[in-house]
Structure formats: structure tokens, C-alpha cells
């Protein structure tokens, strides 16, 4: 079956602009994670959805970042007033059941965001 997909694969924007990054999880997966990965670093947790609700958004760095998952499937990460420090690869992962303790996470290929 299809894996996790993310669009766009690359996004170049100017400082101050608004961007949306999309994640299509594996069908039927209820858990969805967003991470941010900078060069040479491990993925940094941003937010976790269980179904439609954000079960934990404590990793979002500030109020310029927001994510939604209105129907419990596709998720969109939204970044307002982008800054150069937002440049990174944004990874999405999904998992079949609640909680990462019991289930592996399946990662998408990521969106490389570059803020000029």
C-alpha cells in the first residue's frame, strides 16, 4: 500500500511569508506526528495528533506554528511570518494505533523548507 506522503517536497519562500505543508498518512493510521529536522540533528518533536485532536502540541516552538487534522487523516502544518531559522526538513510520521510505545512510526519523505 501507499506510504506516508508529504507535499511539497521542496518549498522556498521569503522571510515573512506564510507556508503550508501537507501530510497524507497511511490510510487507517490514527496517530500522526510532525517533526522538524535541521542538518546534522535528530528529528525534533513538534506536535502529535490522535485522530482529529492535537493530543500534544508542546513541541511547537511559538505561536507562528499551527497544525490541523480536521478529518483525522490529512494534516497541514502552517507557519506564519516565516523566519530564516525555520529552514529545515519537516517530517511527518503516522502510526496505526494510539501511542508510540507500541507501534513503529512510518515516516514520509519530508518537506525541505528554505526561508530566504
Amino acid at each position: 500500500g501507499a506510504g506516508v506522503s508529504q507535499t511539497p517536497s521542496n518549498k522556498v519562500t521569503e522571510k515573512g511569508k506564510y507556508v503550508e505543508l501537507r501530510c497524507d498518512p497511511i490510510s487507517g493510521h490514527t496517530a500522526l506526528y510532525w517533526y522538524r529536522q535541521s542538518l546534522g540533528q535528530g528529528p525534533e518533536f513538534l506536535i502529535y495528533f490522535q485522530g482529529t485532536g492535537a493530543a500534544d502540541d508542546s513541541g511547537l516552538p511559538n505561536d507562528r506554528f499551527f497544525a490541523v487534522r480536521p478529518e483525522g487523516s490529512v494534516s497541514t502544518l502552517k507557519i506564519q511570518r516565516t523566519e530564516r531559522g525555520d529552514s529545515a526538513v519537516y517530517l511527518c510520521a503516522s502510526s496505526p494505533l494510539r501511542g508510540s510505545s507500541y507501534n513503529e512510526q512510518f515516516f514520509g519523505p519530508g518537506t525541505r523548507l528554505t526561508v530566504l
Partner: protein, 110 residues
């Protein structure tokens, strides 16, 4: 809260063994291990759920000492395909956050 991994980097010749360690300052529900190749997404290797549990996956195995909040990944008779960056990932008791470790770059040379 990010787990610390050691070593940061290791170079092996094909056929040699390696151990990667992961240590957390928080109590853990579980430890995951992932491998990421350059320019690619992390790929799942295994989950360990109980204190002292060990798991094996071909020539890659791992242990999890819940009391010490530590896990180790063992790679035996390394192959060229093992090259990549290895991350442990942990979920702590109190939340839904998932933290990846600092990473270990492993290079296997012929």
C-alpha cells in the same frame, strides 16, 4: 529531555561489530531505534518495551534497561548497508511527546 547517544560517530570495517548507547534522564515507556540514510527519512528498526528486554533483527539486536533508562543497539558482522545515522527514540511516562536522541553516525567501509 533529548536522549544522549554515544558514540557520536563510528567507522567500521565490514564484518566488525559496534555498540550504540542511548541514555535518558527521564523514566521511559519504551525505546525505539531508527536508521536514517543521508537525504532519506528515518526507517524503523525495533521497539523495546520492558526493562531488560532484548530483541534481535537479523544481525542487529538491542537491549533496554528500564531502571537505568538506557538502551544499547548491537550491530554484529556489519555490512556496507548498515551505514547511516542511528537514532534512539523515547516516549517518557508523562506525555505523548516523542524524543529522538542526538544520533550516531555509523560508516562501514570495505
Amino acid at each position: 529531555q533529548q536522549p544522549v547517544q554515544s558514540p557520536q560517530a563510528v567507522i567500521l570495517r565490514e564484518g566488525e561489530d559496534a555498540v550504540i548507547n542511548c541514555s535518558s534522564s527521564k523514566a521511559l515507556y519504551s525505546v525505539h531505534w531508527y536508521r536514517q540514510k543521508h537525504g532519506e527519512a528515518p526507517v524503523f528498526l525495533m521497539i523495546l518495551l520492558k526493562g531488560g528486554e532484548q530483541k534481535g533483527h537479523d544481525k542487529i539486536s538491542a537491549s533496554f534497561n528500564e531502571k537505568k533508562q538506557q538502551s544499547s543497539l548491537y550491530l554484529t558482522a556489519s555490512q556496507l548497508s548498515y551505514s547511516g545515522t542511528y537514532f534512539c527514540g523515547t516516549e517518557i511516562m508523562t506525555g505523548n511527546q516523542f524524543y529522538f536522541g542526538t544520533g550516531t553516525s555509523l560508516t562501514v567501509i570495505p
